[in-house]
Structures are given as structure tokens and as C-alpha cells.
Symmetry: C2
């Protein structure tokens, strides 16, 4: 992690950060997710005013819960193979370089249907407090 | 591109989209950028209410302009090698799997210092109108 601060005359603030994703703690995503881990790469607490970047890793046979929430996802598939399922139940195959936009309030699920890990970025707006 | 719409009783809206990044038009980024191309993968127009996902490709020896703007970047390096330069002029090496947060109003530049293409995602909030 390479975090820097400097004094701008109005107090200290964080400036540009560059770090490898593996330097961020990896956490288990609790059930009803199955075999899913997450790294919160960029958060409000680490200096992002608007939206968070997470990286998910789904082991073979694992899946995120089939769920819905009032904010959108923007996802980019980094490695592995799987499907994303929208609220019509239709499965869309996903593989590296694919982009997925899940609008707010749409039920969705990611499943690893491949033989290796399924890894993807998933960005969401910060939740209003 | 896999865009779908459905009628929710309050009018038609776009639902989940899944597509490969290469299905999106690639555009030249004008000077003072050098040898930089961009794909706007997810935008306000395509259904994202809060922030945009772009994918940049910088050819060998190319660079983004050294510039600043009042919104943050969240970047993830997909392939290639290069440096990102913050406002202190210090170069940070970047390679695949690296994450970069550039806060608003900080001068910054990405340069390809490797032998292949430098490719990265770069997400920004929509500009207020």
C-alpha cells in the first residue's frame, strides 16, 4: 500500500495511492454466498468520495446470493468462467473482458461454472447514510 | 452487446446488460494525449446513474496528458507496464493487478514504459450538469 498525505494549507489530506490488489485484506463473504471472498480495494474510508471498488473471487462451484438492492453494480470479469443471472432467470455466460451492468433493484446472481477461480471487479456507489 | 428492456408498469427501462469490452467502439483520445485510445464501457446514457467505466489502451511510448480535474479516478491495471505520476512528480510503477486512486484536483499522468500495450480500467463519477 502506498498512501501519501500532504498539507494543502487547509489540513492534511490523502493524495494519490497505488498498490497491488493482493495487499488488501481478503474477507469471506458470509452465507447465503457460497465460497466467495472479497477485497474492498477502494472505499470511502480510504479516500473515494463517490463509489467503491471491490474485487470478488468465487471458488469453483461457488456463487453470490440471489439478491437485490437499490443500487447498481458495474462489473468487469478478470479471470475464470461463470454465469450471471438476471431477474428473468436467464443465464448469461461470462468470461474475461466481459462487462456487466446490473441496474438498481434488479435481482441478480454470479455463479462460477468453470474449473478455476472466477475473479471480477464490482463497483458500487457509496450507500447514503 | 446484450441490452434488454422490459415494462415495469411505469414504462420501459433497461435491465441487466452483459457484453464483451471489445464490442464497444474504440475512440482516439485527442492531443495532448499521445497514442491513447478509450472505450466508454458503461455510461449515464447506457443506464448507469452514478459513475462511468472506461477502458484505456496506451500504445508503447504513449501517455495521457498531465492534467487535473475536480473529480476522482479509480483505476485498475489490466495488462502492460507503465508509470503513474502524481503532482509531486514522483513516478510509481504500475503493472497488472495494481489499483490507483487519484483524488480530485490532483495532477496526474499515466505513461506506458513497457514493450506492449498498457491497458487499464478508469472509472469516474458522472459530471454534474
Amino acid at each position: 500500500m502506498c498512501a501519501k498525505v500532504k498539507n494543502l494549507g487547509v489540513g492534511w489530506r490523502v493524495i494519490m495511492k497505488r498498490f497491488h490488489n493482493t495487499s488488501v485484506k481478503i474477507e469471506d463473504v458470509p452465507a447465503p454466498a457460497s465460497r466467495v471472498k472479497v477485497r474492498w480495494l477502494i472505499t470511502e474510508e480510504t479516500g473515494a468520495p463517490n463509489f467503491a471498488m471491490r474485487q470478488f473471487t468465487v471458488a469453483t462451484g461457488g456463487y453470490t446470493p440471489r439478491h437485490t438492492h437499490p443500487w447498481e453494480h458495474e462489473a468487469y470479469i478478470l479471470s475464470g468462467r461463470g454465469v450471471v443471472i438476471g431477474e428473468d432467470g436467464e443465464e448469461e455466460e461470462i468470461s474475461p473482458g466481459d462487462v456487466v451492468l446490473v441496474p438498481q433493484d434488479e435481482e441478480h446472481q454470479f455463479r462460477n461454472t468453470g474449473e478455476g477461480e472466477l475473479k471480477f471487479l464490482c463497483l458500487i456507489p457509496h450507500q447514503k447514510k
